[in-house]
């Protein structure tokens, strides 16, 4: 059974399937490849992801803004429910398809130099599998398959975060990521079950498509009514809560965000992929897929949580010293922007920001990777006891690694959202729409746009701090160890090409020919709703200008603090500093409350198991042992004893008679004589 809703275009579907399946093929090939061919594994995966990207681009060109392409086939039937497997290509999925492959390509290339050849086999198996899971996640058309690939994305990220599994911290980190994601998975699963109970289908098009079942369902008099059935209203909120939990876990939103900073234990190239396109984008993508099911209250929840997460993560990033950790918190912050944008009906801007963020965050991570790589070399060479990721050890690197410096600068400018970068287009779009959204609503709604505005300022500060500490001033290691012989450089072309490519993608021309207006961006126009009004409000002018000015001022402040060494920031004993440095104590809270409670519970259960269950078993065991001991005694002493007595008797008699058979002739003669004498004596006596 094949059904296509708009137009049948089988080559496109074939290309899409090939683009999805090829990374799986690469994973299988790399799995079977002998280990000494590690170098080859890298090039196989890179070549295949290039092919995938080309195919994805073709699919993108054919489907983008040409309606949707939906093809499915009967997978299996349970009762009256037919579950279909198929692919759904619409603007959202082809956009993600292209984004994932295009981001994965430089990461693959970069990794050929970043990962040691002997580890590349395993690495590329995981990496290709990761790409496959994510690509499949974005094109499938049913909730069942979505869930399956959702799990696979979590699983393959688990493998990659714990790639250096001999390090204890990596094992802890991937366990943490996995458990956090499992919490989200439970949410998604329960949401799927509720949606199925209500609508009797898993099909994404039937559920969430235009005029789909979700669109037609209403909430009346406390009941959630759809054409297929009805149930109490509360279940709609439970379903939302499930979806939200899933999104919060995958896209690292408060309160499930703590796994993402720890996931830095994986190779930096993996971090780049996770933070840019594959892992965390899945949550935003899921929101995009099921967007039509949310009502106003639920959207408000998304807006509030997104906004809070953005602010929280930005403040934490202010004081962190680990290069990758700063970037990780900035990712959480930017994801907060996206979730919030979903909540304020800025669907198009949210996805636009997802795309731009993917490029510049991937770029920043790859830059961080190069820097850490070089510092690590210095550490290895001179046997220093330093943390290669600590930004307090860096400084003045701009002259030694110019390409990395420029690339990082572009990435940071995009992250702050300064003009001429892609980040400016997407981020200011979100800010403007946030202000427009709050317009005409009660005053407390203003909290969201204002706090997100403040967050932008905070972002500018920590980004400036990062740049100044790493690239300007004196090289701190040189100050600490004066006799170092340094040769730090940009690294090989496998490092440079991805950086250059991603830097170009982080500038405005890729997205819009007009560097100042997000509404001219083609990506934005591909997602914006039909009834979108080109805003002519005052915010379109005020926000970008004020945010740029503010960002520059803050950057200048940071310059004064970190380069001119003026004391303009909070001291380290300040309460706010501590709050930020310790990541708002969220990790500590989880550790001390939730983990401890779980451990306590499991200890109690362990005790119960040990004492009560095992105790019962032990009593039974003792009883059985006693009974069998009794039986053994009876067997041994009564039954065997009787038999032994008989054998003893027979043996005694036998031995007695055997004694006569001494084998000596003279004894025989003697006995004969004795017998004859005895006969005679008896004869005399009688």
């Amino acid at each position: 059974m094949i059904a296509a809703t708009s137009h049948i275009d089988s080559p496109t579907v074939t290309y899409a399937l090939a683009a999805v399946g090829l990374p799986l093929l690469a994973a299988i090939i790399n799995l079977l490849l002998p280990q000494r061919l590690g170098k080859l594994a890298g090039w196989i995966s890179t070549g295949i992801i290039l092919l995938s990207a080309v195919l994805a681009a073709i699919v993108f060109g054919r489907v983008w803004n040409h309606g949707q392409l939906h093809m499915q086939q009967l997978w299996f039937t349970i009762g009256n429910t037919a579950v279909n497997a198929g692919i759904l290509l619409n603007n959202l999925s082809v956009f993600m398809l292209l984004l994932v492959t295009v981001i994965a390509l430089p990461v693959h290339l970069y990794s050929t130099a970043y990962i040691k050849p002997e580890e590349q086999n395993r690495y590329y198996t995981y990496l290709s599998f990761f790409c496959f899971s994510m690509l499949a996640l974005v094109v499938v058309d049913s909730m069942i398959m979505l869930y399956a690939f959702w799990e696979l994305v979590g699983f393959s990220s688990y493998l990659l975060i714990g790639f250096w599994f001999t390090r204890d911290s990596a094992v802890q980190a991937n366990k943490k990521a996995f458990i956090m994601n499992r919490i989200g998975d439970i949410g998604l699963l329960s949401a799927i079950i509720i949606l199925f109970a209500q609508y009797h289908t898993f099909d994404l098009v039937q559920l969430f498509g235009p005029n789909g079942l979700v669109f037609k369902s209403v909430i009346q008099n406390g009941m959630w009514i759809a054409s297929t059935g009805q149930m109490p209203q509360v279940w709609q909120y439970v379903a939302f809560a499930g979806i939200f939990l899933a999104v919060a876990a995958k896209s690292a939103q408060f309160p499930l965000h703590t796994w993402l900073p720890d996931a830095m234990e994986g190779p930096t190239s993996v971090s780049a992929l996770i933070h840019a396109a594959t892992m965390v984008a899945a949550g935003v993508f899921l929101l995009g897929r099921v967007y039509s099911m949310f009502n106003q209250a639920e959207l408000n929840v998304l807006a509030i949580v997104g906004c809070f997460t953005a602010f929280l993560a930005a403040t934490i990033a202010l004081t962190q010293n680990d290069l990758k950790r700063i970037l990780a918190y900035s990712t959480i912050s930017q994801l907060g922007y996206m979730i919030m944008a979903m909540g304020i009906n800025a669907y198009a801007s949210s996805l636009f920001h997802l795309a731009t963020h993917a490029f510049f965050k991937c770029l920043l991570f790859l830059c961080a990777g190069v820097i850490i790589h070089e510092i690590h070399h210095v550490k290895e060479e001179h046997q220093l006891n330093i943390d290669p990721q600590d930004i307090n050890n860096m400084g003045g690197l701009r002259k030694k690694m110019p390409i990395t410096f420029v690339a990082t600068l572009i990435g940071c400018l995009a992250l702050v959202g300064l003009p001429f970068t892609s980040g400016y287009l997407s981020k200011d779009g979100i800010l403007i729409q946030a202000f427009e959204w709050a317009e005409g609503k009660p005053a407390w709604y203003k909290i969201i746009p204002v706090s997100i505005f403040i967050t932008s300022g905070v972002t500018a500060f920590y980004v400036a701090r990062l740049i100044f500490k790493v690239f300007f001033g004196e090289f701190k290691l040189k100050a600490m160890f004066p006799n170092l012989n340094l040769h730090i450089s940009d690294g090989s072309w496998s490092f440079r090409i991805p950086l250059i490519f991603l830097s170009l993608c982080s500038l405005f021309p890729l997205f819009s020919f007009n560097p100042f207006s997000y509404e001219h961006a083609w990506l934005f126009n591909g997602f914006k709703p039909e009834n979108y009004l080109d805003g002519e409000s005052i915010y379109h002018l005020i926000i970008p200008v004020s945010i740029s000015v503010l960002s520059l001022l803050i950057a200048f402040w940071a310059f004064a603090v970190y380069i001119r060494q003026r004391k303009l920031v909070l001291s380290e004993s300040n309460l706010l500093f501590k709050l930020s440095y310790n990541q708002w104590y969220i990790d500590a809270f989880y550790k001390n409350v939730i983990v401890k409670a779980v451990l306590l519970l499991s200890k109690a259960l362990y005790w119960f198991d040990r004492t009560i269950i095992d105790g019962l078993i032990q009593v039974l065991q003792q009883l059985t042992l006693f009974l069998s001991g009794l039986a053994a005694w009876a067997d041994r002493y009564l039954v065997d004893g009787f038999l032994n007595l008989i054998t003893l008797l027979v043996k005694g008699i036998g031995n007695f008679f055997r004694g006569f058979q001494s084998g000596r002739v003279q004894y025989y003669l003697f006995s004969m004589l004795a017998a004859v004498l005895a006969v005679f004596i008896i004869k005399l006596l009688i």
């Binding site: 055997r658 058979q661 001494s662 084998g663 000596r664 002739v665 003279q666 003669l669 003697f670 004589l673």
Partner: protein, 101 residues
């Protein structure tokens, strides 16, 4: 004068000595000598009782046959002893106990 009783006493003594020798000696040849003593005690009896037989000299003649047969059996016994010696490197009948089970 010498009566039958004297013959019988000598014969009984000879037989008893023979039995003692047979039972106590640790050399097969000596045992064989003991056997011959007992045999000769029997022959002595035969000759002594032959005086009271109706036919003359029948006892002596029979004794001669018995002596010849004894010599033959002694030859066989010596041959056996020789073989026993070859086999066991001893002719002490106390040490040759392979007759037992």
């Amino acid at each position: 004068m010498i009566t039958l009783t004297h013959y019988l006493l000598v014969s009984a003594a000879l037989f008893s000595i023979g039995i003692y020798v047979v039972l106590s000696k640790q050399n097969a040849i000596q045992v064989l000598i003991g056997i011959e003593m007992m045999l000769n005690a029997a022959i002595l009896n035969l000759v002594a009782f032959g005086k009271f037989d109706k036919i003359n000299n029948a006892g002596q003649t029979f004794a001669l046959f018995a002596i010849v047969l004894a010599a033959a059996s002694t030859a066989v016994a010596l041959a056996i002893i020789l073989n026993v010696y070859r086999r066991h490197q001893t002719i002490d009948p106390g040490k040759i106990n392979q007759l037992k089970d």
